[in-house]
Amino acid sequence: MTRIGVVTFPGSLDDRDAARAVRLAGGEPVRLWHRDTDLAGVAAVILPGGFSYGDYLRCGAIARFSPVMDSVIAAARRGTPVLGICNGFQILCETHLLPGALARNNHLHFVCRDQRLRIESSGTAWTAGYRPGQEIVIPLKNGEGRYVADPDTLVRLEGDGLVVARYLGVNPNGSVADIAGIANPAGNVVGLMPHPEHAVDTLTGPGTDGLAFFTSVVRQLVEA
């Protein structure tokens, strides 16, 4: 069975939901701890949402230098699929595996709602199971989710098709170009501000629109 690591940092909140989503997608979740230096042979890694290290200094800034991240960064550079959700997206930007940064929401409020998104790219390890242009609804909950990047980076992201998902309807946090998620050029590293792991089961989420993030990577790893 495909083993997918879910990292727990002090202050992670959504590691259990991420592990459950992996299980529902047919994978085997493997709990990784922030002090681990060995990734236990997992085939992919999820950095979950939450407030790692209390979000002290900047969201994700201290987590980025935790022992496990050296191994995650090295694995990502070798092509291992890595998904950063919310705080995990912030961590991936702090590592510079993904360009840009997440800043405080333009209206200063914490947002928690079911968010409509358009999947812009199915060319990543985590979105291969969606159709480009497909609209989905998954929960969004953040205080510092405003994606920012310099104009050259934005041109590159748009030109190379690296915007993975965009907000539909009201832009919830002031993100530039309504960007909700991006990928690296290889497509193995994806950062996403909304939470697909909270939309894998109709009992606990708004639907099951998020499940394909996890089935996409499981399927790709099985076929590899």
Binding site: N106, R146, V148
Partner: protein
């Protein structure tokens, strides 16, 4: 012992909604003429004398610039400045 102060500010082109909220609050309090507020972070760092501690770089300002570039600031969205305080 040296004390180094590192100031970290959002780059000018990055929207600072916290600073704007402070500006609005100042306006409500009757402080006239405030045209802009931007909020940043200040770090006060005590560094041991190089002579006494093996491995400590002799230039505290250079050391603090390394700290700022690596951890204290995210240079994608923030600028920093470093100064050594007289003791």
């Amino acid at each position: 012992m040296a004390r180094v102060v590192v100031d970290v500010m959002l780059k000018p082109e990055i929207l600072d909604p916290q600073g704007q909220a402070v500006q609005r609050a100042l306006d409500r309090l009757g402080f006239a003429g405030v045209t802009a507020v931007r909020q940043g972070k200040r770090f006060e760092i005590e560094i041991a004398d190089a002579a006494g501690v093996p491995g400590v770089a002799p230039d505290p300002a250079a050391l603090a610039r390394d700290m700022a570039a690596k951890l204290l600031a995210n240079t994608v969205i923030e600028d920093f400045s470093v100064r050594v305080e007289d003791r």
